[in-house]
């Protein structure tokens, strides 16, 4: 059963209360949100299986803290989409603004367009696939998970990186402190193949380069003072 909520007549808070209750009911229902008009914090805090399609662009913090639910935005997303996501799938048909997937612990964030600055900042286990380009300072202090970029990456990719894995098919404008290109081993190609399939991305794992932490900033070292 599909339920449609129209935001020209249903206030944002009522929409979110309805979606959150449906998620908690564990019934895996399908919801369509019409006329989102760039509203903030849409479909956030969903804590259970639910399918939500938002028919247009969203504002700040869409699908934040998502757990198990599947949220699709048929448009562009504002800053902080899928922030602190735990599991589930968030798909953005258009572009995503800054800090997409920030601090995400798990699940898949699939961005069909471009993501701007600070994509995946401090990610902690989320997988992010960006079909276009990403902006500067992406994956800053990223701890765990995979960031896959089919296009180009901006300045200072992976600055102060921990153990997240970064895969970029296009060019990287510059690498951040302690981020280096690393060997692509068979297990990485396997991970990449799975993620590209999940995201419906038209690319081959062999076309990508892998970047990761040089692990020189983990502990203070006087010889690296100029890198701090």
């Amino acid at each position: 059963m599909t339920t449609t909520l129209d935001m020209t007549s249903t206030p944002l808070r009522d929409v979110n209360v309805t979606l959150q209750a449906a998620a908690r009911a564990q019934a895996n229902e399908t919801y369509v949100i019409a006329n989102p008009r760039g509203a903030h914090a849409m479909a956030c805090g969903l804590d259970g299986p639910l399918s939500v399609t938002i028919k247009g662009p969203t504002g700040y913090y869409c699908a934040g803290m998502n757990k198990e639910a599947s949220v699709t935005v048929e448009g562009s997303a504002g800053p902080g989409v899928a922030e602190n996501m735990m599991s589930g799938v968030v798909t953005i048909e258009g572009d995503a603004s800054q800090y997409a997937g920030a601090t995400g612990h798990g699940g898949l964030l699939n961005i069909k367009g471009n993501a701007s600055s600070r994509c995946g900042i401090s990610m902690k286990g989320i997988d992010i696939v960006v079909h276009g380009n990403i902006g500067h300072m992406s994956a800053f202090m990223a701890q765990k998970g995979n960031l896959v970029v089919l296009g180009d990456a901006g300045d200072a990719l992976g600055d102060s990186l921990y153990e997240a894995r970064l895969f970029v098919r296009g060019s990287v404008k510059s690498l951040g402190a302690d981020c280096i290109e690393k060997e692509m081993r068979p297990e990485h190609l396997e991970t990449l193949k799975t993620l590209l399939e999940q995201a419906g991305a038209d690319a081959k794992p062999e076309e990508f380069k892998r970047y990761g932490s040089a692990r020189k900033l983990y502990n203070f070292n006087i010889d690296h003072a100029d890198e701090y």
């Binding site: 760039g38 247009g56 662009p57 969203t58 504002g59 700040y60 600055s117 902006g135």
Partner: protein, 296 residues
């Protein structure tokens, strides 16, 4: 936090609706800036004439008989249009400097001047400010607006945006500049004076002084990336169009939309929701440290 909106029309048939469209955009940005609001609107101007927008906290007494008194001083009587706390004086271009000096000496605040630009700004909620000035009824080719949440200077009319520091030029800003006092002193040494303690006015004066020195609008905006320190998303209006630039960190939001009919700028997509044809518009986020401008 502040809200910025801008609208540049490509076709003349939307001109009568410019104020209406900008007002909706401005009111939607109230959440980002409820302290004060302002708009610069570029409308029709007469050949050889200049429009000077002035403001007074006591408009009834300040504007009564203003046309006759200024007329006696200048030798030519200006046309005076009173709009709430503001008045727009239209007079021959050659008399502009003399008129501005006379108006300032009389204690009126100069909001801006130019062949086509009029500026309206006041303290209060954007919807109230828009209603006081009848912004919805205003037509024009392009305009920029601002809703303010004050950080760097007090909540006053003079602290509201847009800031104009040269004929037909104005600036709105989301962010805060950290080297504005130093830049204000540098500009003052060159004879470029500002009227307020506000950081954004320094940004506006910087751009105006670069243009006065021969730079193009694009070059002046490029210069802000090198010479101004702090956070900024700037939208600047000129007689022929508007420009957009963000600092290299780009933490202040920005989104743009373009159709065959217009180019629109806003801090958030929400401000675009009522624009005609927005569903089919090209919508994108302007890149950091990159200058964009549209001119007719």
């Amino acid at each position: 936090m502040c809200g910025i909106v801008g609208l540049f029309l490509k076709k003349d048939d939307l001109r009568p609706k410019l104020g209406d469209m900008l007002t909706d955009m401005l009111i939607t940005m109230t959440d980002r800036g409820p302290d004060s609001a302002g708009i610069a609107i570029y409308g029709d101007g007469a050949e050889g004439a200049v429009k000077i927008t002035v403001q007074s906290d006591a408009p009834q007494s300040a504007f009564a008989g203003l046309d006759a008194e200024l007329g006696a001083a200048l030798g030519v009587t200006p046309e005076v249009k009173v709009v709430d706390t503001h008045a727009v004086l239209t007079l021959p271009e050659a008399k502009a400097a003399e008129a501005i000096a006379w108006l300032e000496a009389r204690g009126l605040r100069i909001m801006g001047s130019g062949a086509s630009m009029e500026i309206y700004k006041e303290v209060g909620l954007p919807k109230d400010v828009a209603a006081r000035f009848g912004l919805r009824e205003m037509g024009g080719s392009h305009g920029i607006g601002h809703t303010r949440m004050a950080t760097e200077s007090a909540v006053t009319t003079l602290g509201a945006h847009p800031f104009s520091t040269a004929d037909d030029q104005c600036l709105v800003h989301n962010g805060s500049l950290s080297n504005h006092n130093q830049m204000r002193r540098k500009l003052a040494k060159k004879g470029v004076m500002t009227r307020s303690e506000n950081d954004t006015e320094v940004g506006a004066a910087y751009i105006s002084s670069r243009i006065a020195e021969g730079a193009s609008l694009g070059e002046a905006l490029e210069g802000t990336i090198e010479d101004l320190d702090g956070f900024f998303t700037f939208v600047t209006g000129t007689k022929n169009g508007f420009g957009v630039v963000r600092d290299p960190i780009a933490c202040k939001p920005a989104v743009m939309a373009e159709t065959d009919d217009y180019v629109a700028f806003a801090s958030e997509y929400r401000a675009f929701a009522d624009l005609p044809g927005i569903e089919a518009a090209r919508v994108w986020e302007p890149e950091p440290a990159t200058v964009y401008f549209w001119e007719r």
